[in-house]
């Protein structure tokens, strides 16, 4: 089966090099190096390091820096290209961090001031700006985020979930990234010199790039996203695999996806950060893949710095420009190529015939993504990769009530699972040496992964990880920022910085389990687990490869009440999550799970009608489902209760409805616990009497629904095969 061509029909780019594709191209063609000493905020030693900063950025209104540059890039990409996109996929790690830092330092305690903190607030902002009705997805996989977002957008179109997707990556400069990378001694004080013999590290930068991609007409030609591939090193939290094994896997997968071989590639846009380890490992991977002849290759990060989550999207836009304009950029900052790399990077930009480009982006957590952009050389265009729904092979949940069965048994008995397990108890069954540096969120994630795998009874570990988290690693982030400010911005903690990235827990799971497949972390408040499930449905594939899908959140004594309105309204602080081991497709017997409805758009009217229609209207709802687990976040109680009433009205559903947050407590990924409960009820064939007012109620072959209500309605279907 062949899918449609995925055409790039609009691009936007903002970086230290300039605004818009034309300015960017001109800067790169003249070999201009835009990195300069930081001016955005004062540094204690008065010797600011070079950064790729967007100078004189107009900051109108209330939006943080990341939001502002993303809006600029999105406007460029959408200019004159017709109706609103029907999906937004955005990769970002910092979100509103530059604003949050200021608020934390000033001790501001008003939650309203933190409303633009989350990475998801950027994607929401863009969706609202361009009138997108969803789905809206936020990807946070550190420095590969932008490229991972492109892979997800590609699969959304291939799977028929969307026709026009606005996709990109963005990160504004912040103290977190400036001091964080500095604490890792990864910064070249002279500015990044990728692939150079004397390279000393990277240059932190900011930027945003957006691409409008759409299912095109196969009879017309255009520049396409031809394919993309993901992998995970499963090796180290920050250092790449020395042999470049993960980078090689991502590049090979991208070529396979595009139906091309290495000899079809006309230019390689390297990740090329300028750190000793990255450049060496990437060079090894490139040499392994391109054995016969290597096309021209270079890194643009010497010119503009490393814009982190934006880099993959920025370099996709540059790659599109190379194909459009038949040129390739030079490797700015290069004087003498490091002979150990055994590569010959282009010193200067030059005109060249370019039909296809391979662009690499690698990140913390060993998270790798490669994208192939160009004009199609054949009619090979793969159809959808993922196979939905997913078959559940194992499950586990953790709450304040305890580990897997303790939580499930209490939930099934209709008793409160609210509260927080002590950190030592969370790690009770985990290897002590692996968790010694880990705080709450990664411990919860590892425990869930371990217990869901055990429950599956499978010998082989899941090979792909899809993790949703509403708010990320709050303990590490808060410790990093308070430690930084307490020390007069002199002593940032490297451990806390590494742990603060949203995808650190999924990276830890990969290291524990050896999962070298796709490793994606999604984030977006109360529907983060649903996003992870959607991405798993798009990407989990292969004949025998199982995946782990989990939702997990920690509650932090200071941070949570500032960020999550439901935590502010909660009776008792609670946290935890749920995990499912899933297999692709409909093989075997058992229970399946599918995300039947997800919009991701906040406060859009008529969503419950859409939700009921998506589930197949009253007839299918009442024939297929014997119970509803309804998630009404405390922060959205009146709205959510109204939506539940409307759901009952429209669907005519009169079976048991369980208001599950009263049992789990309030945390963003409580729906993952509910999903585990729904799977187990469906497998058992009955709803425990304690949850439906009396006797156990037999399901007679029916499954159940897990509804997410409030500002972002969702529906997950759980059914027997």
């Amino acid at each position: 089966m062949t899918g449609p061509p995925i055409i790039i029909s609009g691009v936007g780019i903002v970086s230290a090099l300039g605004t818009g594709p034309a300015e960017t191209r001109k800067a790169l063609q003249t070999g201009w190096v835009a990195t300069r000493p930081l001016s955005l905020f004062p540094t204690p030693d008065d010797r600011p390091l070079p950064v790729g900063e967007i100078r004189n950025l107009p900051m109108p209104g209330v939006f943080p820096r990341t939001h502002v540059i993303t809006r600029m890039a999105a406007r460029q990409a959408l200019e004159g290209v017709g109706p609103a996109p029907d999906a937004v996929v955005l990769g970002t790690t910092t979100g509103g961090m530059s604003t949050t830092e200021r608020l934390i330092r000033q001790g501001v305690g008003d939650p309203q001031a933190y409303r633009f903190h989350s990475p998801a607030s950027v994607s929401q902002n863009i969706a609202q700006m361009c009138g997108c009705r969803g789905p809206v997805l936020t990807v946070s996989t550190a420095c590969s985020s932008g490229a991972v977002a492109i892979k997800i957008a590609l699969e959304l179109i291939r799977n028929g979930k969307a026709r026009r997707v606005l996709v990109g990556g963005t990160d504004g400069l912040s103290r977190l990234t400036y001091y964080g990378f500095s604490s890792l001694q990864l910064i070249d004080p002279k500015g990044a010199r990728p692939l150079d013999l004397d390279r000393r590290g990277m240059t932190v930068a900011e930027g945003a790039a957006m691409l409008l991609i759409e299912a095109g007409d196969p009879r017309k030609t255009g520049i396409e996203i031809l394919g993309a591939g993901l992998s995970c090193d499963a090796f180290h939290p920050t250092s790449p695999h020395p042999d470049g094994a993960g980078a090689l896997a991502a590049m090979s997968s991208a070529l396979d996806d595009a139906g091309l071989t290495d000899q079809d590639i006309d230019y390689i846009n390297l990740h090329g950060t300028g750190t000793a380890d990255n450049d060496l490992s990437e060079a090894r991977a490139v040499r392994s893949l391109f054995r016969l002849a290597r096309p021209p290759l270079s890194s643009v990060k010497g010119a503009m710095g490393h814009s982190l989550a934006a880099a993959g999207a920025i370099e996709a836009v540059i790659s599109q420009g190379c194909v459009a304009g038949q040129w390739v950029p030079g490797n700015s900052g290069l004087k003498t190529a490091d002979p150990a790399l055994k590569l010959k990077p282009l010193a200067r930009a030059q005109n060249a015939p370019v039909r296809t480009v391979l662009s690499n982006s690698f990140g913390f957590g060993g998270n790798n993504a490669s994208v192939v952009i160009g004009r199609s050389t054949s009619n090979h265009r793969p159809a959808a990769a993922g196979r939905r729904p997913l078959t559940v092979l194992g499950s586990a949940c953790i709450t304040g009530a305890g580990h897997a069965d303790q939580t499930y048994n209490r939930f099934a008995a209709g008793k409160s699972c609210q509260g927080m397990l002590p950190a030592a108890e969370i790690a009770r069954y985990l290897p002590p040496k692996q968790v010694r540096r880990l705080r709450r969120l990664p411990r919860l994630a590892l425990a869930l992964a371990q217990q869901a795998h055990l429950d599956s009874g499978r010998k082989g570990m899941p090979q792909s990880i899809f993790l949703g988290t509403g708010w990320g690693a709050l303990s590490e982030t808060h410790r990093f920022l308070t430690g930084l400010f307490d020390s007069g911005e002199k002593f940032p903690s490297p451990t806390d910085f590494i742990g603060s990235v949203h995808n650190a827990p999924a990276g830890q799971i990969a290291m524990m389990t050896g999962a070298t497949g796709a490793n994606v972390t999604t984030t977006g408040g109360n529907c983060s687990f649903e996003q992870a499930l959607m991405v798993a449905g798009l990407l989990a594939g292969g004949e025998t490869k199982n995946a782990l899908v989990l939702g997990v959140d920690e509650t932090h004594e200071h941070f949570s009440r500032l960020l999550d309105p439901s935590c502010t309204a909660a009776q008792a602080p609670s946290d935890g999550g749920g995990a499912l081991v899933v297999g692709p497709g409909l093989e075997g017997h058992g229970v399946c799970i599918d995300l039947a409805f997800y919009s991701g758009v906040i406060r859009c009217k008529g969503l419950i009608t859409e939700l009921v229609n998506a589930l197949g209207r009253p007839q299918r709802i009442n024939t297929r489902f014997g119970f509803v687990l309804a998630g009404i976040p405390a922060g959205d109680r009146p709205q959510g209760a109204g939506q539940l009433h409307r759901f009952r009205e429209l669907s005519g559903f009169n079976g048991p409805v369980i208001d599950y947050r009263k049992l789990t407590g309030e945390f963003a990924s409580a729906s993952a616990v509910a999903a585990v409960a729904a799977v187990r009820f469906t497998a058992a064939g009955h709803i425990p009497g304690a949850l439906c007012g009396g006797e156990d109620r037999r399901l007679k072959g029916k499954g159940g629904l897990v509804l997410g209500l409030g500002s972002c309605p969702t529906a997950m279907e759980v059914a027997r095969r």
């Binding site: 890792l184 001694q185 939290p237 250092s239 002590p432 010694r436 540096r437 002593f491 903690s493 451990t495």
Partner: protein, 94 residues
């Protein structure tokens, strides 16, 4: 050796700090051999721990270890680390 030897005091102090800073599991301060390898041995101290120690050493002793070459010499073992701190700290200069 004697109480006047700053190296011994410093080694004792560093042992305590390292165990606490790095949350070393099942290791008592006195078990860190001053002449044993700091990295890659039984202590399972890795490159991220080294960076954390770099921050602590600058903060507590005013000694910067800001490149890989110096780091590789200094973090060979606890005695080398203590000697480097003693030689370069502001207090010893004063």
């Amino acid at each position: 050796m004697s109480e006047t030897n700053p190296g011994t005091w410093l080694i004792e102090e560093l042992r305590l700090k390292i165990v606490d800073l790095l949350d070393l599991i099942d290791i008592r301060p006195e078990e860190i051999d001053p002449d044993g390898p700091l990295l890659g041995g039984d202590l399972e101290i890795d490159s991220i721990d080294v960076l954390e120690m770099v921050m602590m050493i600058e903060k507590d002793y005013g000694v910067r270890i800001d490149n890989r070459e110096i780091g590789e010499k200094v973090f060979v073992n606890l005695r080398a680390l203590a000697a480097y701190i003693a030689e370069n700290s502001r207090e010893s200069c004063g």
